[in-house]
């Protein structure tokens, strides 16, 4: 039986082995290549997507675990690239090579859902995604900026 789920608001299905990582299905089968393959063992976070609103590392997640779930990828985080995290990322010119950044943005969107006003200690503890360009200075600044935008806009938005 095919695995069925919703991705970025649209119904999708995958008719193949149940243990194929979700990342492969999303990139190769559904053609959404914003999420990246980095380490393949769930350590770097380049493959981060939201599963029912929670950030997960999908390179190690068998597609069967997505059955019936709502999946959001970087492509579906906001209708016009205007999620506060995306806006802060653009405003502060965070990316360098960019490879980790879609996963980073997805992880940070979830971090802000759990910690709407994160301290530097919260960021240090919670954000374990890796960036080889070491754009960490701007990532930290952009997280604080995004939190500020959310507060200024009133109610926190859920992706």
């Amino acid at each position: 039986m095919p695995v069925t789920f919703t991705i970025n608001g649209k119904a999708a299905e995958f008719d193949g082995p149940e243990d194929v990582p979700l990342l492969w299905v999303v990139r190769e089968h559904l053609g959404l290549t914003g999420s990246k393959f980095g380490c393949g063992i769930g350590l770097c976070g380049a493959c981060t997507m939201h599963i029912d609103g929670v950030a997960e590392r999908t390179c190690v997640m068998p597609v069967i675990l997505a059955q019936g779930k709502q999946i959001t990828t970087i492509e579906g985080l906001s209708p016009g690239t205007d999620h506060p995290v995306q806006k802060a990322w653009i405003e502060l010119d965070v990316p360098q090579c960019g490879y980790c950044q879609s996963g980073m943005i997805m992880a940070v969107a979830d971090l802000l859902r759990r910690h709407p006003d994160p301290s530097d200690a919260d960021i240090d503890r919670e954000l374990t995604n890796l960036c080889r360009c070491a754009t960490y200075v701007r990532i930290r600044a952009a997280i604080h900026r995004a939190a500020q935008m959310v507060r200024a806009a009133g109610a926190p938005r859920t992706p």
């Binding site: 063992i41 010119d93 360098q96 960021i123 890796l130 070491a134 754009t135 960490y136 200075v137």
Partner: protein
């Protein structure tokens, strides 16, 4: 192999650089900052040792050696001033300098860094890095700042991690669990200082890496009394107390 050494900014009356090719069983290729990471770690650590033996302040010792090179002196002074060098002895600091000369003398970028350590429980951590850069006219200072920030993060990984060992015909490390990269909690605060310049734009992508390791080693010598002469530094190098 001797990048950053053979073409000196320091005023040295007697100076000879020799290098030999060492056959390696491991294929090697360029990495960011090319030869300067290893060469300048050796070279600036050597200068630190001379200053230490002469019992002269590290900044003053380098100022004297750079007295004939106004551009070099300017970046060194800018980094030291930004860090209030000499104003407080409570924070262990290290200072290092490098003039990065592009292959074939195509460009000349001057870099000076001051590293500050912070004691956290029984360990020292790199807390803040002041980095002055003269890379000629900065066409896009925002991008140059990004290169300073990211380059120092890359150099942090080179200095503290990036250990590759070999056995049975291959590298022992295979992924991030045994070859960790720098994480956000380990990233120091960076204070970039971009010096105004009328020189044409020079290189900026790799230039800030080399001075970091010798500056950290110098600060650790001050903090722990131990000299470090091997990269990457061991975790024990950052222990506050002698074991």
């Amino acid at each position: 192999m001797v990048d950053g050494i053979y073409n000196q900014s320091y005023r040295l009356p007697h100076f000879l650089v020799e290098t030999i090719d060492t056959p390696l069983p491991i294929p090697v290729y360029f990495m960011r900052s090319v030869g300067s990471t290893a060469a300048v770690f050796f070279w600036e650590s050597f200068i630190s040792e001379l200053a230490h033996r002469a019992n002269v302040d590290q900044y003053a010792y380098r100022r004297n050696l750079l007295a004939d090179d106004p551009l070099a002196l300017r970046v060194l002074t800018a980094a030291a001033d930004a860090a209030s060098w000499g104003k407080s002895n409570e924070v262990p600091r290290g200072i290092a300098f490098n003039c990065y000369i592009g292959r074939g003398g195509r460009f000349k970028t001057y870099v000076a860094q001051v590293v500050e350590l912070k004691r956290v429980a029984d360990r020292f951590a790199v807390k803040r890095v002041f980095c002055a850069v003269d890379s000629g006219l900065a066409v896009n200072p925002n991008t140059l700042r990004a290169q300073i920030e990211g380059g120092i993060g890359f150099a942090m990984t080179n200095t503290l991690k990036s250990r590759i060992t070999f056995s049975e015909g291959g590298a022992d490390q295979s992924n991030y669990f045994d070859y960790p990269l720098l994480t956000i909690d380990e990233m120091p605060e960076i204070v970039p200082i971009i010096l105004p310049s009328a020189r044409p734009p020079q290189g900026a992508g790799e230039v800030v890496l080399a001075p970091l390791a010798p500056a950290i080693a110098q600060a650790l010598l001050k903090a722990t009394g131990r000299r470090i002469d091997v990269m990457p530094f061991s975790a024990a190098a950052f222990q506050a107390t002698q074991n």
